[in-house]
């Protein structure tokens, strides 16, 4: 059931076609399996495509987000797209949700109690919101306290435009004495 070898579209076109039908980021290795080419060659072609779109002034971009490749509209076309898409508007996160999200992102997996301790307020409602928005998910229970642990989802990475959690901005410069704080703060 392999495509006929004699009349194949170029690799570039094959990748473009697959990218057009996916609704989530696709890893290069998955694409490589589909087109039956080495992952490395596929990676290079994808990068060339991304460059091609950029230089060609296309209205779309090919980007790696959350560990996969995906087509996006160009940022400066947002006014038109927003006008067209009714359902696409994401409600803005509140300050409380953002702060809670940032604690979870940097401390995951982490319990609500611990997030509350950092923020100095109860975070139950905010955590429910973040769960419903798909930005965090449950990740087992804390062995000591039995409390539910939370971690961030690939969707958050997508929304941040990041490949992986490693790309989160470094917290160290913002936090003079992380070690001291950790030591002093009872869990």
């Amino acid at each position: 059931m392999s495509p006929d070898e004699t009349d194949l579209p170029p690799l570039r076109a094959a990748l473009e076609a697959v990218l057009l039908v996916t609704d989530e980021p696709v890893a290069a290795v998955t694409l490589a399996q589909v087109v039956e080419r080495p992952t490395e060659e596929v990676e290079q072609t994808l990068q060339a495509l991304a460059q091609d779109y950029l230089e060609g002034g296309r209205g779309f971009e090919l980007r790696t987000v959350a560990g996969g490749w995906r087509l996006y509209t160009r940022a400066d076309c947002a006014p038109y797209v927003e006008r067209f898409v009714l359902d696409g508007q994401q409600a803005r996160l509140t300050q409380a949700a953002l702060e809670t999200l940032s604690v979870i992102a940097y401390r995951q997996p982490v319990s609500r109690a611990r997030v509350s301790a950092v923020r100095g307020v109860n975070v139950d409602g905010v955590v429910r919101t973040l769960l419903a928005r798909g930005l965090i998910t449950e990740a087992g229970t804390d062995e000591e306290t039995g409390g539910i642990l939370y971690r961030t989802t690939p969707l958050l990475l997508e929304r941040l435009g990041l490949q992986s959690l490693d790309e989160l901005p470094d917290l160290a410069p913002l936090l003079p004495d992380l070690a001291d704080v950790e030591a002093g703060q009872a869990s």
């Binding site: 990218l19 057009l20 039908v21 996916t22 609704d23 779309f60 971009e61 980007r63 995906r70 087509l71 996006y72 509209t73 160009r74 940022a75 400066d76 947002a78 797209v81 898409v85 696409g88 994401q90 996160l93 300050q95 409380a96 953002l98 702060e99 999200l101 940032s102 604690v103 992102a105 940097y106 109690a113 950092v118 923020r119 100095g120 307020v121 109860n122 139950d124 039995g146 409390g147 539910i148 997508e158 929304r159 941040l160 435009g161 990041l162 989160l168 901005p169 917290l171 913002l174 936090l175 003079p176 004495d177 992380l178 001291d180 704080v181 002093g184 703060q185 009872a186």
Partner: protein, 293 residues
């Protein structure tokens, strides 16, 4: 220094603050420090202590004690520190002072930690905003491919399907931290102030240790300390300390005045309001109370 203020000055130049405008005591502290154009240092903590206390007073009857315990704990620590700075020497001589220094370090560390996550949150917000201008391709399959999908199997019958719906629609009972003890421990600063006033008028004075010897738990000690500061502010008591970091002695200087008219004393009136118990149950002598940390 990054601006962290989230408060808007009121029209009268005062901060018209409702408690729920602030995401917790650290948010309030950072706002105050920012308002005074100070860097986040321990010195800044000392400079905004009065403001901090004023703000939680201004919250008046809107206090939800369950939500506000962190504010109370932070307020108590700040007041402790403020009082300690009145001492002639900073030498650490006993365990209480050591505990106070630890409390100061912990408070400061937690404030810095909170600030770091707040700054990180601001960066995340920028990233989210930038990213929200890009829309991912996210559409249904073209009909010719949709038809390729294998016939979908549910793998369950109507009863199982209904049971699944019932499970999904039943609100999940999330494990909650019991806060009964917090509510049970509602402590009234006004009542403790009254106790102090009566006792000091009668005896003329005493050590802080003796004035709090009958307290049940930390919250009551805190309440009594707040009450003492209240009386000190109003000029009804004087503090004396015979040796550095020694016992704090309180002397009644208010004469025979038996009552203070709250109407003539806005601060006292506010103080009397913000700790008003929210429940009908007795607010003292509750054996369950404990420090809500």
């Amino acid at each position: 220094m990054v601006e962290v203020s989230t408060a808007e000055p009121g029209t009268d130049g005062q901060f018209a603050v409702r408690l729920d405008n602030f995401e917790g005591p650290f948010d309030l502290l950072l706002s105050l420090i920012s308002k005074h154009q100070l860097d986040v240092t321990e010195v800044a903590l000392s400079k905004v202590t009065d403001d901090f206390i004023a703000h939680i007073r201004a919250a008046g009857t809107t206090w939800d004690l369950g939500q506000a315990t962190e504010f109370l704990v932070v307020a108590a620590t700040l007041l402790d520190l403020k009082a300690a700075r009145l001492l002639p020497s900073a030498e650490v001589e006993d365990e209480e002072d050591l505990a106070l220094l630890e409390a100061r370090d912990l408070l400061f560390a937690r404030l810095l930690q909170y600030r770091a996550y707040k700054l990180a949150a601001a960066q995340l917000a920028q990233m989210l905003a930038a990213e929200s201008r890009r829309f991912p391709r996210q559409v249904r399959l073209e009909p010719q491919y949709a038809g390729l999908l294998p016939e979908v199997l549910l793998g369950l019958g109507p009863q199982e399907f209904a049971a699944m719906a019932a499970r999904a629609l039943t609100p999940r009972l999330e494990p909650v931290v019991a806060i009964d003890h917090v509510h049970g421990a509602t402590v009234s600063v006004r009542e403790h102030t009254a106790i102090l006033r009566e006792r000091l008028q009668r005896t003329g004075g005493g050590s802080f240790r003796s004035l709090t010897s009958d307290c049940q738990g930390t919250l009551e000690v805190v309440a009594r300390f707040l009450g003492l500061l209240e009386l000190y502010r109003e000029g009804f008591v004087a503090f004396e300390q015979l040796e550095a970091l020694g016992d704090l002695h309180i002397r009644w200087t208010g004469g025979d005045q038996t009552d203070i008219d709250p109407a003539l004393d806005p601060a006292a009136a506010a103080g009397a309001e913000w700790d008003e118990p929210t429940e009908d149950e007795p607010t003292q002598d509750n054996p369950d109370e404990q420090e809500p940390m």
